[in-house]
């Protein structure tokens, strides 16, 4: 079966042949390469290097993001990358980890790896402890949602940065974004359009295109195979998604639907606005030719 997943590229994908998984975004190590470039450009104090770390929920994907290539890339870019801190997925208090990150390790940039609910709870603790201005807080792709502002308060979230890596945001323009708005209005009827909804459409668009191309090869759907669908996925080049995401070019065996990131920032009214252009990030996991 061909599997189109919203999640990131992980190391495990490459252990199975044939490789039948398409991923919504590049690995943590790839995305962090782009984030570290942004940190290096954002840091103005020339008397010392900026310190970068992460607070992650305990998961394989989180552990994988603490990758040697991230530390190496930081060193090359003049960013001191500190070891990650981890929290239990069901944690409701993050005081211990945050005190260690800010008071003891004196981090300047903190990447928060967690879902919407976890990030909202962490940011409430950040404010409770008086740490919001002690560092720049960066959230990951799976917490770029208005629900975080609803849980934590947009006053808490205002100014927080985000790594946008798997689809556009509602303020983007194009026929694809117009279609997403139409779908949301037609099927959801209430609530607020979010980046996460756009991501779901992005995955479905590329899956549908792959299925359609595979059908054009075999005709009868009963002759479809997972490999046939994935083979067609890798024929997608310079494919226009109308702003749902940048144009897609898929290169075997990199399974990621996109290999770009851009930085976004949370606004007072809850909007999430891009503050940089899309930037290519290197393919790390599964790439035999990767060189930083």
């Amino acid at each position: 079966m061909a599997h189109f997943t919203y999640g990131p590229t992980t190391k495990l994908i490459f252990d199975h042949k044939p490789q039948l998984i398409a991923t919504g975004c590049p690995s943590g190590a790839s995305r962090l390469s782009g984030v570290i470039d942004w940190v290096a450009a954002d840091w103005k104090d020339k008397s010392r290097k900026p310190k970068f770390t992460s607070l992650c929920y305990e998961a394989t994907t989180s552990r994988q993001s603490e990758d040697p290539n991230v530390f190496k890339h930081g060193k090359e870019k003049g960013v001191e990358v500190l070891p990650w801190a981890y929290y239990s997925f069901v944690a409701t208090d993050f005081g211990t980890e945050l005190r260690r990150i800010i008071k003891e390790n004196k981090a300047d940039y903190v990447w928060l790896r967690g879902g919407a609910a976890q990030v909202a709870a962490i940011m409430k603790d950040v404010v409770r402890l008086g740490y919001k201005d002690k560092a720049k807080w960066i959230i990951t792709y799976f917490s770029l949602d208005p629900v975080v502002g609803k849980l934590a308060g947009n006053d808490v979230m205002e100014g927080v940065y985000g790594v946008n890596s798997d689809a556009g945001v509602p303020t983007d323009k194009g026929w694809g974004i117009d279609l997403v708005k139409k779908l949301f209005k037609k099927y959801r009827k209430k609530g607020e359009l979010s980046q996460l909804y756009i991501t779901g459409v992005h995955v479905a668009m590329l899956a549908h295109e792959s299925v359609k191309r595979a059908l054009e090869k075999v005709g009868n759907p009963k002759k479809l195979t997972g490999k046939g669908i994935i083979d067609q996925y890798y024929t997608i080049k310079d494919f226009d998604l109308g702003g749902v995401a940048p144009k897609a070019t898929i290169n075997y065996p990199n399974p990621a639907m996109m290999s770009k990131i851009r930085m976004v920032q949370w606004q007072k009214d809850g909007a999430i606005i891009p503050i940089t252009d899309w930037k290519d990030v290197p393919w790390v996991y599964g790439n035999p030719d990767f060189k930083d």
Partner: protein
Amino acid sequence: MMLPTRKKNIFFIVLAVVSCAAMVLMCGPACAKNVKVPIGLNLELTGGLAATKLPVSYGLLDYIKYINDEGGFEYKANGKAYKAKYDIIWADNGFSVARSMTNVRRFAGKGAKVILTA
């Protein structure tokens, strides 16, 4: 002038064959073969990451449903025209690997060769 019966029959047979061939050649989407494509949607509507995955799940579901609601999609293969709709099979995985595996087995059992996961 009246044609003999035998010649008349041949004329009508030839006319019918030519008409059918013309219909096939000119056939557009209206006479395309209708087919169903099973697709499994392994959604995350409940569980620890539902605050994140619920909107993603809706995005996946709504796009595929929209294709069907618009009448499906067309494709051509081996000189034939097809009109396809998705046979949507969805299930909640509750942020559980075990439930995801059960879902995928269910999708496979229904003939799905493609799955989308939130």
